[in-house]
């Protein structure tokens, strides 16, 4: 058998199969060079064990700090909920934000009229940044008419004042 010096770490660490270990030990019995190496390897291996045993076990109280950076940040009304609830809240907030933005002219849109259940005008936004602040007179009538089919037209938008 060839020398086993390059496999002594596996041997001393118990990482050889029984067959491999037996072959290795047979070789060590007849090879002074490998046997000398194995003695040195064992000494190093044992010194490592001594180093491990002499170390004071590290203190183990990580939880308060870890919690503060994980669950501790989720204690509010928003982060306390399930992921699905948080997603629904976020989507709702985004929708309200877009609606508000369009009502105040901050955003342009396709020109949609949102009627309430009773048919009254609830919200209007127009696609050319034109904002109609009044809901009386002919313009208001035209808006209310639009509420029936749900979509404003550029012509209707053109009758308003510019923001």
């Amino acid at each position: 058998m060839k020398h086993v010096t390059d496999r002594l770490a596996a041997w001393v660490g118990g990482e050889m199969s029984a067959t491999e270990a037996a072959a290795c030990e047979q070789h060590l019995a007849v090879c002074p060079e490998c046997r000398a190496q194995s003695v040195r390897m064992c000494a190093t291996w044992e010194a490592l064990g001594c180093a491990a045993r002499a170390s004071t076990p590290p203190r183990a109280d990580l939880w308060p700090a870890v919690r503060a950076r994980t669950f501790g940040r989720r204690g509010g009304w928003f982060f306390g909920g399930s992921p699905a609830v948080r997603l629904a809240l976020a989507a709702g907030t985004l929708a309200v934000g877009i609606l508000c933005g369009r009502l105040t002219g901050g955003l342009t849109g396709p020109g949609t009229v949102l009627p309430d259940d009773d048919g009254s005008l609830a919200a209007v936004w127009l696609e050319d940044s034109t904002w109609h602040s009044g809901t009386s007179g002919a313009l208001a009538d035209s808006w209310l008419a639009l509420a029936e089919n749900g979509t404003a037209t550029t012509a209707a938008a053109g009758q308003g004042g510019t923001k």
């Binding site: 390059d6 496999r7 002594l8 770490a9 596996a10 001393v12 660490g13 118990g14 990482e15 040195r40 390897m41 000494a43 190093t44 291996w45 044992e46 010194a47 490592l48 064990g49 001594c50 180093a51 491990a52 045993r53 002499a54 170390s55 004071t56 076990p57 590290p58 203190r59 183990a60 990580l62 939880w63 700090a65 870890v66 919690r67 950076r69 994980t70 669950f71 989720r74 399930s82 992921p83």
Partner: protein, 189 residues
């Protein structure tokens, strides 16, 4: 040195953590913090750094809980995160020429005057730990995982993302390097 704790339990705890169950996550932290700390102390040579990185390790475990694949290899996955953080910090410090590994801050037992054998063992341990800290990074990681954390070669390979032969080579070279280093300093084991 076979693994004693079934990682399947850890997989279940990870699933519950991903679902937002704080108690499950706490159980994971309590169960593994000593192993992670011990590993990081040997990797960094500094108790303060080890605690800092161990904390960061568990924060990352929490953040990645939803993507964790329950394949019964939680320990390897956990120590891979810890090892990557240690290597990343070491590289950053080397790059910035910050503090070297501070072996003086390494946690040691406080010997009593009467415990001569304890004092001697601790002195030997300090010399050995210093030699470990001088090993190349991957050799040190493989050796610490195997000799101090009790991982089998296959687990070390999984943790480090390398082959079994690669692990054997790393540990073989680490032990030979330690031997040479200690001999040169007159501390031949």
């Amino acid at each position: 040195m076979a693994q004693e704790r079934p990682d399947t339990d850890d997989d279940q705890l990870m699933a519950r953590t991903a679902a937002g169950e704080e108690a499950a996550f706490r159980l994971l932290v309590d169960r593994w913090e000593r192993d992670v700390l011990a590993f990081l102390v040997h990797m960094t040579g500094s108790r303060d750094d080890a605690e800092d990185l161990a904390q960061e390790t568990f924060v990352r475990v929490f953040r990645q809980a939803g993507r964790y694949r329950p394949e019964g290899r939680f320990r390897s996955w956990l120590l891979r995160i810890a090892g990557n953080l240690a290597r990343s910090r070491h590289r950053r410090r080397r790059l910035l020429k910050w503090l070297p590994l501070d072996l003086d801050r390494h946690d040691v037992a406080s010997p009593t005057p009467s415990a001569d054998r304890g004092v001697e063992a601790e002195q030997t341990a300090q010399v050995v730990r210093a030699a470990i800290a001088r090993l190349p990074e991957r050799q040190r990681q493989a050796l610490v995982l195997h000799r101090f954390q009790g991982l089998r070669y296959v687990e070390v390979a999984d943790t480090m993302g390398t082959s079994l032969a690669g692990v054997e080579s790393l540990i073989q070279r680490a032990l030979a390097g330690l031997r040479t280093d200690l001999s040169r300093r007159g501390e031949e084991p």
